[in-house]
Symmetry: C2
Subunit: 97 residues, 2 copies
Protein backbone atom coordinates (compact mmCIF):
# COMPACT_ATOMS: atom_id res chain seq x y z
CA UNK A 1 0.00 0.00 0.00
CA UNK A 2 1.07 3.60 -0.49
CA UNK A 3 0.09 6.53 1.74
CA UNK A 4 -0.32 10.24 1.15
CA UNK A 5 -0.52 12.49 4.22
CA UNK A 6 -1.21 16.21 3.91
CA UNK A 7 -1.71 18.80 6.63
CA UNK A 8 -3.21 22.15 5.67
CA UNK A 9 -3.22 25.41 7.61
CA UNK A 10 -5.90 27.97 6.88
CA UNK A 11 -5.60 31.73 6.74
CA UNK A 12 -6.85 33.65 9.77
CA UNK A 13 -9.74 35.08 7.75
CA UNK A 14 -10.94 31.72 6.44
CA UNK A 15 -14.63 31.43 7.29
CA UNK A 16 -16.25 28.39 8.88
CA UNK A 17 -18.19 27.91 5.64
CA UNK A 18 -15.01 27.92 3.54
CA UNK A 19 -13.35 25.44 5.89
CA UNK A 20 -16.40 23.16 5.91
CA UNK A 21 -16.65 23.33 2.11
CA UNK A 22 -13.11 22.04 1.74
CA UNK A 23 -14.02 19.00 3.84
CA UNK A 24 -17.22 18.51 1.81
CA UNK A 25 -15.38 18.75 -1.52
CA UNK A 26 -12.53 16.48 -0.45
CA UNK A 27 -15.05 13.95 0.85
CA UNK A 28 -16.38 13.59 -2.70
CA UNK A 29 -13.01 12.50 -4.09
CA UNK A 30 -13.24 8.78 -3.22
CA UNK A 31 -16.37 8.69 -5.38
CA UNK A 32 -14.58 10.34 -8.27
CA UNK A 33 -11.18 8.65 -8.02
CA UNK A 34 -11.42 4.84 -7.74
CA UNK A 35 -7.70 4.51 -6.97
CA UNK A 36 -8.41 5.82 -3.45
CA UNK A 37 -8.53 2.85 -1.08
CA UNK A 38 -8.86 4.79 2.16
CA UNK A 39 -9.50 8.47 2.72
CA UNK A 40 -9.74 10.04 6.17
CA UNK A 41 -10.11 13.77 6.80
CA UNK A 42 -10.19 15.60 10.12
CA UNK A 43 -10.21 19.14 11.43
CA UNK A 44 -7.73 19.86 14.18
CA UNK A 45 -9.18 19.45 17.67
CA UNK A 46 -7.35 22.50 19.06
CA UNK A 47 -5.37 20.61 21.71
CA UNK A 48 -1.96 21.98 20.81
CA UNK A 49 -0.84 25.46 19.79
CA UNK A 50 0.78 25.82 16.41
CA UNK A 51 -1.03 22.92 14.77
CA UNK A 52 -2.25 22.89 11.21
CA UNK A 53 -6.01 23.06 10.59
CA UNK A 54 -6.87 19.97 8.57
CA UNK A 55 -5.36 16.53 8.12
CA UNK A 56 -5.89 14.09 5.27
CA UNK A 57 -4.61 10.52 5.21
CA UNK A 58 -5.18 8.76 1.88
CA UNK A 59 -4.12 5.22 1.04
CA UNK A 60 -3.65 3.67 -2.40
CA UNK A 61 -2.63 0.26 -3.73
CA UNK A 62 0.67 1.68 -4.96
CA UNK A 63 2.56 4.77 -6.12
CA UNK A 64 0.76 4.76 -9.45
CA UNK A 65 -2.60 4.95 -7.70
CA UNK A 66 -1.37 7.93 -5.69
CA UNK A 67 -0.08 9.66 -8.84
CA UNK A 68 -3.47 9.28 -10.52
CA UNK A 69 -5.00 10.98 -7.48
CA UNK A 70 -2.35 13.69 -7.31
CA UNK A 71 -2.84 14.71 -10.94
CA UNK A 72 -6.56 13.97 -11.23
CA UNK A 73 -8.55 16.93 -12.65
CA UNK A 74 -11.26 16.62 -9.98
CA UNK A 75 -8.63 16.74 -7.23
CA UNK A 76 -6.81 19.63 -8.86
CA UNK A 77 -10.08 21.55 -9.18
CA UNK A 78 -10.77 21.21 -5.45
CA UNK A 79 -7.28 22.53 -4.73
CA UNK A 80 -7.68 25.53 -7.02
CA UNK A 81 -11.25 26.41 -6.14
CA UNK A 82 -11.60 25.63 -2.45
CA UNK A 83 -8.17 25.11 -0.86
CA UNK A 84 -5.81 27.69 -2.36
CA UNK A 85 -8.05 30.71 -1.55
CA UNK A 86 -7.72 30.02 2.20
CA UNK A 87 -4.36 28.25 2.33
CA UNK A 88 -1.72 29.59 4.73
CA UNK A 89 0.51 26.50 4.92
CA UNK A 90 0.88 22.95 3.72
CA UNK A 91 2.99 19.98 4.78
CA UNK A 92 2.98 16.58 3.12
CA UNK A 93 4.65 13.20 3.04
CA UNK A 94 4.01 10.21 0.83
CA UNK A 95 5.39 6.85 1.86
CA UNK A 96 5.18 3.10 1.38
CA UNK A 97 2.93 1.54 3.96
Amino acid sequence: MFRHIVLLAWTADATAEQRAEVVAQLSKLPGAIPEIRRYEIGEDAGLNAGNHSLGVVADFDDVDGYLVYRDHPVHLAVIEEYIKPILAGRAAVQHEL
Copy 2:
Protein backbone atom coordinates in the same frame (compact mmCIF):
# COMPACT_ATOMS: atom_id res chain seq x y z
CA MET B 1 -11.28 6.90 17.76
CA PHE B 2 -8.86 9.81 17.94
CA ARG B 3 -5.98 10.44 15.53
CA HIS B 4 -2.63 12.19 15.85
CA ILE B 5 -0.77 13.04 12.63
CA VAL B 6 2.72 14.54 12.68
CA LEU B 7 5.04 15.33 9.80
CA LEU B 8 8.70 16.00 10.57
CA ALA B 9 11.34 17.66 8.38
CA TRP B 10 14.99 16.87 9.04
CA THR B 11 17.95 19.21 8.86
CA ALA B 12 20.11 18.99 5.76
CA ASP B 13 22.98 17.54 7.78
CA ALA B 14 20.92 14.79 9.40
CA THR B 15 22.68 11.50 8.73
CA ALA B 16 20.98 8.36 7.42
CA GLU B 17 21.79 6.72 10.77
CA GLN B 18 20.12 9.52 12.73
CA ARG B 19 17.05 9.37 10.50
CA ALA B 20 16.85 5.58 10.79
CA GLU B 21 17.29 5.74 14.56
CA VAL B 22 14.25 8.01 14.89
CA VAL B 23 12.16 5.42 13.06
CA ALA B 24 13.60 2.65 15.24
CA GLN B 25 12.92 4.54 18.47
CA LEU B 26 9.40 5.59 17.46
CA SER B 27 8.64 2.01 16.45
CA LYS B 28 9.21 0.96 20.08
CA LEU B 29 6.50 3.28 21.39
CA PRO B 30 3.50 0.97 20.82
CA GLY B 31 5.25 -1.52 23.10
CA ALA B 32 5.73 1.08 25.79
CA ILE B 33 2.44 2.97 25.54
CA PRO B 34 -0.59 0.65 25.56
CA GLU B 35 -2.97 3.50 24.67
CA ILE B 36 -1.63 3.37 21.09
CA ARG B 37 -4.13 1.46 18.96
CA ARG B 38 -2.47 2.02 15.59
CA TYR B 39 0.92 3.47 14.78
CA GLU B 40 2.23 3.88 11.23
CA ILE B 41 5.52 5.57 10.32
CA GLY B 42 6.95 6.26 6.90
CA GLU B 43 9.85 8.11 5.33
CA ASP B 44 8.96 10.35 2.43
CA ALA B 45 9.28 8.64 -0.97
CA GLY B 46 10.74 11.75 -2.65
CA LEU B 47 7.95 12.17 -5.22
CA ASN B 48 7.26 15.82 -4.56
CA ALA B 49 9.56 18.74 -3.85
CA GLY B 50 9.11 20.53 -0.57
CA ASN B 51 7.76 17.56 1.35
CA HIS B 52 8.56 16.79 4.96
CA SER B 53 10.80 13.82 5.72
CA LEU B 54 8.79 11.55 7.99
CA GLY B 55 5.11 10.93 8.63
CA VAL B 56 3.49 9.37 11.68
CA VAL B 57 -0.19 8.48 11.96
CA ALA B 58 -1.20 7.28 15.43
CA ASP B 59 -4.70 6.27 16.49
CA PHE B 60 -6.10 6.06 20.00
CA ASP B 61 -9.44 5.13 21.55
CA ASP B 62 -10.05 8.74 22.55
CA VAL B 63 -8.49 12.10 23.39
CA ASP B 64 -7.36 10.85 26.79
CA GLY B 65 -5.41 8.03 25.14
CA TYR B 66 -3.69 10.54 22.88
CA LEU B 67 -2.84 12.81 25.83
CA VAL B 68 -1.21 9.90 27.67
CA TYR B 69 0.94 9.34 24.58
CA ARG B 70 1.71 13.02 24.08
CA ASP B 71 2.97 13.44 27.64
CA HIS B 72 4.43 9.98 28.17
CA PRO B 73 8.06 10.04 29.42
CA VAL B 74 9.19 7.43 26.90
CA HIS B 75 7.73 9.47 24.04
CA LEU B 76 9.18 12.71 25.38
CA ALA B 77 12.60 11.08 25.69
CA VAL B 78 12.54 10.04 22.01
CA ILE B 79 11.68 13.59 21.05
CA GLU B 80 14.48 15.10 23.13
CA GLU B 81 17.17 12.55 22.35
CA TYR B 82 16.58 11.55 18.73
CA ILE B 83 14.16 13.99 17.04
CA LYS B 84 15.07 17.49 18.25
CA PRO B 85 18.78 17.23 17.30
CA ILE B 86 17.87 16.85 13.61
CA LEU B 87 14.53 18.66 13.48
CA ALA B 88 14.09 21.41 10.89
CA GLY B 89 10.29 21.56 10.83
CA ARG B 90 7.17 19.99 12.28
CA ALA B 91 3.49 20.04 11.37
CA ALA B 92 0.73 18.27 13.27
CA VAL B 93 -3.00 17.80 13.54
CA GLN B 94 -5.06 15.81 16.00
CA HIS B 95 -8.65 15.01 15.17
CA GLU B 96 -11.63 12.80 15.93
CA LEU B 97 -11.79 9.87 13.57
